[in-house]
Point group: C2
Chain length 373, copies 2
Amino acid sequence: MPPTITPWEVQGEVDYEKLIQQFGTEPITHEQLNHIAQQVGEVHYMLRRGVFFSHRDLDWLLNQYQQTGECFLYTGRAPSGNTHIGHLLPWVLTRWLQEKFNVDLWFQFPDEEKFLFKQDLSLEDTAAYTQENMLDVIALGFDPDKTHFLIDTRHAGILYKHACRVAKKITFSTAKAAFGFQDSSNIGSVFYTSMQAVPAFLPSAIAGRNIPCLIPLAIDQDPHFRVARDIYPSLGYYKPAVLHARFLPSLQGPEGKMSSSSAPDTIYTTDTQKQVEEKIKKYAYSGGRSSLQEHKEQGGNPDIDVSFQYLKMFFEPDDKKLQELEHQYRNGDLLTGELKDIAIDKINVFLQQHQKQREKARNKVEQFIYQAE
Amino acid sequence: MPPTITPWEVQGEVDYEKLIQQFGTEPITHEQLNHIAQQVGEVHYMLRRGVFFSHRDLDWLLNQYQQTGECFLYTGRAPSGNTHIGHLLPWVLTRWLQEKFNVDLWFQFPDEEKFLFKQDLSLEDTAAYTQENMLDVIALGFDPDKTHFLIDTRHAGILYKHACRVAKKITFSTAKAAFGFQDSSNIGSVFYTSMQAVPAFLPSAIAGRNIPCLIPLAIDQDPHFRVARDIYPSLGYYKPAVLHARFLPSLQGPEGKMSSSSAPDTIYTTDTQKQVEEKIKKYAYSGGRSSLQEHKEQGGNPDIDVSFQYLKMFFEPDDKKLQELEHQYRNGDLLTGELKDIAIDKINVFLQQHQKQREKARNKVEQFIYQAE
């Protein structure tokens, strides 16, 4: 059975190369990374290491930015649970892009989305999760003067009108093909993609001129923009460029996606050091051999080792240190337990800092929420 | 071919008795009219004469009101053109109900609706029509302290959240059956009914307690509430009661509906006295005989005479005068030309007053638009 990849379901092993073909996106090239380096002086490790592996119209975006010095970033989070470390991944790159490109970020919290797609979730639930999720975004260090949170139910007075413009151009048939809707789907879920389409042109609508948009997101969100990108030009706006991230794997295996609904498999941003240690030690899928002797002789496999993948994708930005770990693990000098200890330590150092900033963020929330002028 | 009756299309001869069966509503009874008379001292001629001919849960509403003295009214207008005299019909009764019951009215202007359903209409068009249509509502004399205009794109910050609650409970399949959607329908049109459902419970949501709602509307709008009434209880709200009006016929025949898109067939609220005279004289379908002699001998048929129907349904509130006209027309004493002159005069007297109030309304619009507290 092929894997299921929609914005609301990721099941099975994900073949990222196939997704590029299936979704009709482009792999990110060395030339593109060089182009980024030319413009901002460096390339983020998540780009270098292929965590962001695919794109739409990146060349266009980089050329536009080079010529005009102008663009904006757009990403988001549909509140349906507490934030886990997998959620942070695209936001970490987005924060870096904001700093390096020195541009505005529009961050959408579609608090109706998961309400519409999950039977048991109430709008009160998603409102509470929105509050918590906002803290995690702020904690990453976004610039409050350049970051604008849009909360769908709160900002519908701004968003809905534009969403109708988008919706008028999307048939049920198109939505069905892109998202797998059926006659039994509720009409709110069917409409929803129109709301997600709006922030890609809202800043242009507000400014009264076209500003290029770059959307860093996890690959499962691509269908929204695959559909909407066909529509933007007819509304008078640019097609946004998109950067696609892989999923941070769940603890139980290198393929698939960390899920916010499976607590023991998942490392939340609010987990204690002890919880992180226990989860990694107990659940983190290992690329090590079944016996110490075998491991020493044949070496481990970092490509399937979740602890190594966490370090590579997120928690060890230093290329030299990472290469050393990879080398030692492959040749058997580094044992699974030792590798896990390193991952635990790195994650906990990150989370300690994150949790400190997260608490400080409680007083900053209103500062980040977009106020129409 | 049976007539098409949806909120967006009324084609063919309308058989109102059949609609009661088809839509599953109830005819309004003499007992119900007496019940209204008991409570407010009189019965409006549009009720007495069967212009409002059908209902849902009217007994429940009247009992609720009798016991608690509380209810509110809800009606609306989807801006897609200039107001014609047919539009005014349900609003005239609504104004009377507001005065007699001494209750609030919530008046929705879903300025996205016709935008979503009509290819050539822009949101700028519907915004302009909204401004004009509001003048016609205000001109009828609604109480500014008890009347609250909701404009969908402007009030989406209040409406959208509740619309999502409704939308979650309506499948595409249900919407398809009620409104005739197809796979080629756009996803905004599919979602729209959720927005129209909201004002029936918004005052209850704001007050934090259930308030009974009465919706006077033209029968073609019933499908929205046929669907939504199944949902309100699961959201914790009463099912609203509904009063259904017949359509004011177009100039060209006693069956069917006056349309805002066929200018010569239609009397607009801004027509000059000369225009009204010309339209009635030239187009008003006559129940008179083909020759003067035949008319004198056999009499005219007021049941199919559009001028007489306008007087009966709207412009001659005095029962005695109307009966006299009917009698004279039936026995041939009153000629078609004379009947037309009476209708022209009555309509022009009404419109002269209406246009005066309409101009005065320009300064009052903001007073009527709902401001969230």
